[in-house]
């Protein structure tokens, strides 16, 4: 056992390094600065047959081993971390689930163009309320005839919106938690599938990252990957392998920074000799090299285990966690060695310093990697007997009354009527520039407002409502339509007054957390599936350009009287509803089977529906057979 790569692997490294040095390195600074995706370079890389390295030749791949693929990601990242993750997300996340879980038709149709590099792949799992805990997935897929109807959204999706093929996870049985998640292949361009924000990231700025929005997207039944309910398993298996890619990316970023630091340390002379010969710096370099060697063995070993079909889940988690942790240390030391010069834009170590951080976060935070590792060495922790009840929406129980009937004018009239019935007096008002925290009423603009001149509509509506003006974060931060101190959200101003009117705000989690104490939330948005509607008391689905003037007209009572001191109004009373799933009771003892709890004594996990209980399952209390349970009506 010599722990060495093969000649073939090293040949590949040489080839990728040459490509990276000649095609990526010259533009890396620009890509970073402009937040630009290296489309041309990726096309050339595809021509070299590199986009499907570990997949069989019959599906358009290169038939290389997993380690070769890891080396390719490492070498790209050595020059540019963003470019490295494009390859990693494409191969490990976008293509792998189709390769491992797709049927022959799906592989022919989707894997082949991905492996050939004709198409780019991406993977959509993360949601606002489902990060490390995929059980919170809220995107839904409902089977209607020969297709599924997909609704919801995904955030932080690497390669979107550039990618053509997306493996998307959605719940086909919302009550079953992770057991209700299914995987689908979704193509860009399908009706109702759009992209939200392109994120303005700290690092890996040459990679593209965006939000996916699904609004009644028709997904043909044959695009279900595996079976219904297997999505969580597919996601976890995919992430096991994806970790090798991210580990390789971190390794490459650290390697690049280390090389730059070593070179610089040999050149930079202080106190009459190169700083590399000063012990303080030489020890740093020695530590960096040691960490890199250690990390490299972890990464390569995990890749070899995967290639050999040995268990590798724990080893890939160790590789990802360790390599990304030491990557941060190495880029930090590298920048330190560069001193003030390293702190300047345009310096590779400055970019590496920013690129590195994401590696401890995505594809499973390093905390989650430790959960994975611990579960392998300690065994799975016994679940608490009682599963948590399903969370209500972020803003708490809300009426969720959407006015759909009639013309927009009639809808607005109904909204105004409901607000007046709740006790809102629109003959009084507050100044539009009242600080958000002190405001009794606020009307906020989101990105749905469009061009800046449309803010006039918000102002007119604010006057009519007697409300102060607020906004979502992008409207203040990116579009700069309002001062920064007027955006509402967890990171901005919190609104705890009575009436909040959200216009063209989709309802990101951080925004919703900033308005959860509002007495009444009104949503106006053209996307009926925007999360804001699930968090609002009243809503109108429609175009702001049309609704806002109608609202202003309906509420216009001339000059508003100054409002009396704010009196916090009561939150509406919402009657609790029963669970949406069926519950069953034993006719031998009255024991109730609740799928939210499962039956821990018989290793039936929470989320198992009654009909999915094994036939031989018996009542845990009295031993009665499953068939002697009755359904609660």
């Amino acid at each position: 056992m010599l722990f060495q790569t093969t000649k073939k692997q090293e040949d590949l490294r040489k080839k990728v390094r040459e490509f990276a040095e000649s095609e990526v390195k010259p533009i890396a600074f620009l890509l970073d600065k402009e937040n630009e995706f290296p489309s041309e370079a990726i096309a050339k890389f595809a021509d070299m047959g590199m986009m499907g390295l570990p997949y069989p030749k019959e599906y358009g791949g290169a038939g290389a081993d997993v380690l070769s693929y890891a080396i390719a990601v490492e070498e790209l990242s050595r020059v540019d971390g963003g470019t490295g993750v494009i390859l990693s997300a494409h191969v490990s996340l976008g293509s792998y689930p189709i390769f491992a879980f797709g049927n022959e038709e799906q592989k022919q149709k989707y894997l082949t163009p991905l492996a050939k590099g004709e198409k780019l792949g991406a993977f959509g799992l993360t949601e606002p309320n489902a990060g490390s805990d995929a059980g919170g997935t809220e995107t839904t897929a409902v089977l209607e005839g020969d297709h599924y109807i997909l609704n919801g959204g995904k955030i932080f999706i690497t390669n979107a919106p550039v990618a053509d093929t997306y493996v998307v996870f959605a719940s086909t049985n919302p009550d079953a938690g992770t057991h209700g998640i299914s995987a689908f292949i979704v193509e860009k361009g399908w009706e109702g599938f759009t992209f939200g924000d392109h994120y303005d990231k700290m690092g890996i700025r040459s990679s593209s990252t965006a939000e996916l929005i699904f609004n009644n997207v028709k997904v043909p039944k044959e695009n279900l990957l595996g079976k219904e309910g297997q999505g969580f398993k597919i996601a976890m298996a995919t992430l096991d392998g994806g970790r090798i890619g991210i580990a390789a990316q971190a390794l490459g970023i650290a390697q690049g920074a280390y090389e730059h630091a070593l070179e610089y340390a040999k050149e930079r002379i202080q106190f009459g000799k190169p700083i590399a010969q000063q012990q303080a710096i030489s020890f740093k370099l020695a530590d960096m090299a040691t960490k890199l060697r250690c990390a490299r063995f972890l990464v390569y070993s995990a890749a070899e285990l995967k290639e050999a079909h040995e268990p590798y889940g724990m080893e890939s988690a160790m590789a990802k966690q360790y390599t990304s942790d030491i990557c941060l240390e190495v880029v930090n030391d590298a920048l330190q060695i560069f001193g003030g010069s390293g702190y300047l834009k345009g310096m590779e170590v400055e970019r590496a310093y920013r690129d590195a951080k994401i590696c401890t976060i995505y594809e499973g935070t390093n905390e989650i990697q430790r959960v994975v590792i611990a579960s392998h060495i300690i065994g799975k922790m016994k679940k608490d007997g009682k599963a948590k009840r399903k969370k209500t929406s972020i803003t708490g129980e809300r009426k969720k009354m959407i006015f759909r009937d009639g013309t927009p004018k009639e809808q607005v009239a109904k909204l105004v009527e409901a607000l007046k019935k709740d006790g809102y007096d629109f003959s009084v008002g507050i100044a539009m520039d009242t600080p958000i925290v002190d405001a009794e009423r606020v009307i906020s603009a989101g990105k749905g407002i469009g061009a800046k001149e449309n803010m006039k509509l918000i102002e007119e509506a604010a006057k009519a409502l007697g409300a102060a003006i607020g906004s979502s974060r992008p409207v203040a931060e990116t579009l700069k339509y309002v001062p920064l101190n007027r955006y509402v959200g967890m990171s901005g101003q919190k609104f705890s007054g009575n009436l909040y009117v959200a216009c063209g705000i989709s309802g990101a989690g951080q925004h919703l957390k900033g308005i959860k104490d509002a007495t009444t939330i009104v949503a106006i948005n053209n996307n009926p599936n925007a999360p804001i509607f699930k968090n609002a008391d009243y809503g109108i689905v429609g175009d702001l350009m049309e609704i806002l003037p109608l609202l202003a007209e309906a509420l216009d009572t001339g000059v508003k009287q100054p409002a009396p001191p704010m009196k916090k109004m009561k939150r509406p009373f919402i009657k609790k509803e029963g669970p949406s799933y069926k519950r069953y009771i034993c006719s031998g003892c009255g024991y109730e089977y609740d799928m939210e709890i499962g039956d821990p004594a018989s290793d039936v996990p929470a989320g198992t529906t009654f009909d999915k209980l094994p036939e031989e399952w018996i009542c845990p209390e009295c031993g009665e057979e499953k068939e002697n349970f009755i359904e609660i009506e």
């Binding site: 009561k570 919402i574 009657k575 031998g588």
Partner: protein
């Protein structure tokens, strides 16, 4: 001396009443006593439906002997094997050794567990089996978990008589009157019937619903339960109550206020609440001190009213123990779908309100808590009196919405 009554031709009530028992099941007070009903059918064969509690066994044996009038007893149908009905089986076996016991498999198993030597004397029946005793044909219908697993009901298809076991029963001794139309049920009996159902059968609503569904297919003329009056008319009244109770739907739109007070301050607050409710027109109020009201009454009233206000002092950083006990009973009996107002009291670290809310949210089903809460520190005063107004308003608002 025998004491029997004729139900219809060929069928006699041969049970008895007990006024000396203080606590039914050794837990529920029965100031009006209780009856243990048994019925004897005289056909080509003689058939006894269930026996009685040990306490009135002698009376029962005299009754049976009198009605049989020298005939032997051929069959004993056991619909329910709980000892308040099954305890006298052994005496029947001793006196009528040729008798055959007809019951469910689980019931016969229970007879063995309770130590009755019934070997070779039993005939097992299951759902839908029928047996002709001469003129009368009896169909056996399983009624699991109403309120024991072995229970069944027997239906005489000849005369439309349902021997309903513990279903449709009530606390209260009959004291001569046997039929529902011989008493003023809605005035004198409904509270005990409710208290019986909710405390004894309350948990098993879904199984009662299942039984009601089965019963709806039968042409019933008489309902003969094991406790309380025999029903021979006005079935709609009784079935409506059972339907509501078993679906956990309230009978009436009103407010039950249950309070735990140590020195009268919490009591004073709920009096203010009640007065303000009445002032606003909501007079359907029932107010109970949990410390001196037996929990079986509290449970019964909780099933009856749509709105519950729980007012509790904090005790050892927890819910006042008696109030907690009441909550535990509610949970055990599967009570659900009520709208609840909370009044919290505490003098240095008030906890009872948040703990009661947590209990309602986590341990019970569809208990909707009103947003307006009254938080008292020791006593109601000018600072929090408006919270009572808000609670009153919330209660009335939620009634409008319902």
């Amino acid at each position: 001396m025998y004491c029997v009554r004729k139900v219809v031709d060929d069928l006699y009530w041969v049970g008895g009443n007990d006024h000396r028992l203080a606590l039914f099941e050794n837990i529920h007070p029965i100031p009006r006593g209780v009856s243990y009903n048994s019925y004897l059918l005289l056909d080509e064969k003689t058939v006894l439906f269930d026996t009685v509690d040990w306490s009135i066994c002698r009376q029962f044996l005299e009754n049976v002997e009198h009605v049989l009038d020298g005939r032997d007893l051929d069959y004993l149908v056991i619909n329910h094997m709980e000892p308040d009905h099954g305890a006298s089986i052994e005496e029947i076996l001793l006196r009528y050794p040729n008798v055959t016991i007809i019951s469910t498999e689980k019931s016969i198993m229970l007879m063995h567990q309770f130590g009755f030597d019934v070997d070779d004397k039993t005939m097992t029946v299951k759902e839908g089996d029928s047996f002709r005793f001469g003129k009368h044909n009896i169909v056996f219908v399983e009624a699991p978990m109403v309120h024991w697993p072995e229970a069944m009901v027997s239906f005489d298809t000849t005369d439309g008589i349902l021997f309903s076991a513990d279903a449709f029963g009530s606390f209260g001794a009959l004291d001569g009157k046997l039929f529902n139309d011989e008493v003023n049920f809605d005035r004198d009996w409904i509270d005990d019937a409710r208290r019986y159902y909710t405390n004894i059968v309350g948990k098993y609503g879904p199984h009662v619903q299942a039984l009601l569904k089965k019963a709806s297919t039968l042409d019933i003329h008489y309902i003969c339960p094991l406790h309380g009056p025999v029903w021979r008319n006005d079935f709609g009244y009784l079935l409506d109550k059972y339907d509501k109770w078993s679906r956990y739907e309230p009978e009436t739109c009103g407010v039950m206020i249950a309070y735990a007070s140590m020195y009268g301050n919490t009591e004073s607050a709920v009096q203010v609440l009640a007065a303000k409710l009445a002032e606003k027109g909501m007079t359907n109020i029932a107010l109970y001190d949990v410390s001196n009201t037996h929990v079986s009454y509290l449970i019964s009233e909780t099933f009856k009213y749509s709105h519950i206000v729980l007012a509790s002092v904090t005790y050892n950083l927890g819910i006042y123990p008696v109030m907690h006990d009441y909550l535990m009973h509610m949970k055990a009996l599967n009570l659900q779908k009520r709208t609840v107002g909370i009044i919290e009291n505490g003098s240095w670290a008030p906890k009872s309100g948040s703990l009661m809310k947590e209990f309602l949210d986590e341990e019970m089903k569809q208990m909707s808590i009103l947003n307006s809460e009254v938080n008292m520190i020791s006593a109601l005063n000018d600072n929090n009196a408006n919270e009572v107004d808000n609670l009153v308003e919330s209660i009335l608002d939620s009634m409008k919405e319902a």
